[in-house]
C-alpha cells in the first residue's frame, strides 16, 4: 500500500474536505483525471516534512504548499544570509538575519492560507528526529550535510516512511526516493558509511548554480506529490543524475543491498546515530586542534620559527582575497595532498571564517601532524583586525 492510499483511507466521509475557496484554488488540479477531487482531498490529508529551508527545501516547500499538501513541516536552525538569496527563494532581502523557519512560515502561509504550516526551529538530531517525523507521512531531504542525511535516512527506514532525496554540487544534482518498505534501497545501500570529514565540499565551500536546486527541489516535490496521490511511477530504485552544463538527465537503477546495515536482512543500526562529530563542523571537531586568533597568528608568523600558512579555501576565493605567503590546498583536496606539508613546521590553517579550517586542522591532527593551529575568524578577521587592505567578501 502506497502512502497515498493510506492517507486516503483516513479521510472522513461525511463532510466535504475541500471548501469552495479551495476547490477554486485547486481547480486546475481537480480537472486532471489523475488527481480529481479525491486526489486533492488526499493531498489535503497528507503531511510532509521538509528537512532544510535552503536551496532544495525552498522550491520543494513552495510547490508542495501551492499544491495543497495539508500539513507542511520545516526543520531548520539557520538564519537567512545574503549569500543564500541567489537560490533559496523562500526568503527575501528583508528576511536577512531572521530564522529561516520564520521567513519560510510567512511565505508559505501567504502562498496558501489553507495549510497547517509547522516550523521546527532546531537541528534534526538523534534526540528529536523520530519524534518530529512521527507527525508526518513522508520526508523531503534537502539538508546540506552528511550528518543529517544519514540520520534522516535511518529514521525514515525505521518509521517505514518514504525519503525523497535530493543533493546538489555546483552544476550537478541527484534525486531518488528511498523506500525499503516499498521495495527500493535506502541511502546506506548506496553509501553504507559517510565519507571522511572534509572530503566532500558543501555549497558554501564549492559554490552552486542558483537555479540548480530549483530544478532538483521541484523534482523532489513532484515525487512527493506522486507518492501521496499514488500515481505514475515513483522514483524508487532509480536515481536521476542531472548535469546542468550539458543539460542532460541520466538515470541509474539502484539495488537494495541485503547486507545494508540499516534496511538489510540483518540490520546492525537500529537506533538514530549522530554523525555530527564525524561529518561536519560541530564543536567536538575543534576540541583537539589548537585555536588561535589573528593577533596570535601575526605574532607567531613574526616569531622567526618555521611555519606553514595553509589556506584551505577554494581557488576563486584566493582571487578575491589572500594573505601573502599562504599555501593553497582546498579542504576537499587535503586528504589527497597532505603529504606535501612539512610535518616539522608549525601549520596555521585558515579559511574564510574558521569553519572549514577547523575541520582541516582536525584532519591534519588525525593524520599525525602534531603542530597544527586553527585560525579562528579566518581571513575575514585578518582583514578586519590586521590588514584592512585585504578585501572582505
Amino acid at each position: 500500500m502506497g502512502v497515498g492510499e493510506r492517507i486516503g483511507a483516513t479521510l472522513p466521509n461525511d463532510e466535504p474536505a475541500l471548501s469552495a475557496a479551495e476547490q477554486r484554488r485547486y481547480s486546475r488540479h481537480i480537472m486532471l483525471p489523475e488527481i480529481g477531487r479525491a486526489g486533492q482531498e488526499r493531498l489535503k490529508a497528507a503531511r510532509v516534512l521538509c528537512l532544510g529551508a535552503g536551496g532544495l527545501g525552498s522550491p520543494a516547500a513552495l510547490y508542495l504548499a501551492a499544491a495543497g499538501v495539508g500539513r507542511i513541516g520545516i526543520v531548520d536552525d539557520d538564519q537567512v544570509a545574503l549569500s543564500n538569496l541567489h537560490r533559496q527563494l523562500l526568503h527575501g532581502t528583508k528576511d536577512i538575519g531572521r530564522p529561516k523557519t520564520d521567513s519560510a512560515g510567512d511565505r508559505l502561509r501567504d502562498l496558501n492560507p489553507h495549510l497547517d504550516v509547522q516550523m521546527h526551529a532546531c537541528r534534526f538530531t538523534s534526540a528529536n528526529a523520530e519524534e518530529i517525523l512521527r507527525d508526518y507521512d513522508l520526508l523531503v531531504d534537502g539538508t546540506d550535510n552528511f550528518a543529517t542525511r544519514y540520520l534522516s535516512n535511518d529514521v525514515a527506514v525505521f518509521a517505514r516512511k518514504p525519503n525523497v532525496y535530493g543533493s546538489i554540487f555546483r552544476f550537478d544534482g541527484q534525486t531518488t526516493v528511498f523506500a525499503p518498505h516499498l521495495g527500493g534501497p535506502c541511502y546506506r545501500c548506496l553509501f553504507p558509511e559517510p565519507p571522511p570529514p572534509g572530503a566532500v565540499p558543501s555549497c558554501a565551500e564549492a559554490g552552486v548554480l542558483g537555479v540548480l536546486p530549483g530544478i532538483v527541489g521541484t523534482m523532489q516535490a513532484t515525487e512527493a506529490l506522486k507518492l501521496i496521490l499514488g500515481i505514475g511511477e515513483p522514483l524508487i530504485g532509480r536515481m536521476v543524475h542531472f548535469d546542468a552544463l550539458k543539460m542532460k538527465f541520466r538515470e541509474f537503477n539502484l539495488r537494495r543491498d541485503p547486507e545494508c546495515p540499516v534496511c538489510g536482512d540483518h540490520p546492525t543500526i537500529t537506533e538514530p546515530i549522530d554523525y555530527e562529530m564525524f561529518c561536519h563542523g560541530g564543536p567536538d571537531l575543534t576540541a583537539t586542534a589548537e585555536q588561535i586568533d589573528v593577533r596570535e597568528l601575526q605574532e607567531r608568523m613574526e616569531s622567526g620559527r618555521p611555519y606553514i600558512l595553509l589556506d584551505v579555501r577554494e581557488p576563486f576565493e584566493c582571487e578575491l582575497a589572500r594573505i601573502e605567503g599562504a599555501n593553497l590546498i582546498p579542504l576537499g583536496e587535503l586528504p589527497a595532498r597532505w603529504e606535501e606539508l612539512d610535518r616539522e613546521k608549525e601549520i596555521f590553517v585558515f579559511c574564510h571564517s574558521g569553519m572549514r579550517s577547523s575541520r582541516a586542522a582536525e584532519l591534519l591532527r588525525a593524520a599525525g601532524f602534531a603542530k597544527v593551529a586553527n585560525v579562528a575568524g579566518g581571513i575575514d578577521a585578518w582583514s578586519q583586525e590586521i590588514d584592512p587592505t585585504v578585501p572582505r567578501y
Binding site: 546540506d144 543533493s167 548506496l190 572530503a199 565540499p201 552552486v208
Partner: protein
Amino acid sequence: MRVNVQFFSQLRELAGASELTLDLPDGAAVADLLRQLYERIPALGKWDNNILVGAGVDFVGREYLLQPNEQIAIMPPVQGG
C-alpha cells in the same frame, strides 16, 4: 577490451577529466578497473569506500564483469542542499 569511464561531480576535478578510456584484459571486473584507475590517479583511491559504479544504466557491485565498450560511471556522494 576498452571501456569508457565517466566521472561525476567533484571526482571530475580529482581525475582532471570528465572521462577517459581504459584498456583492460578480457573478463576484467569492476574491481580490476578500479585498481587500474587508482594506479593512474592515486587521489581517487581515497574514495574507494565512497563511490558508486554504474555500468550502462545499472549501479553494479565490484564483482561485476565488464563488457567491451561499456560506459562506466563513477559517482561520489554529494551533500549540498
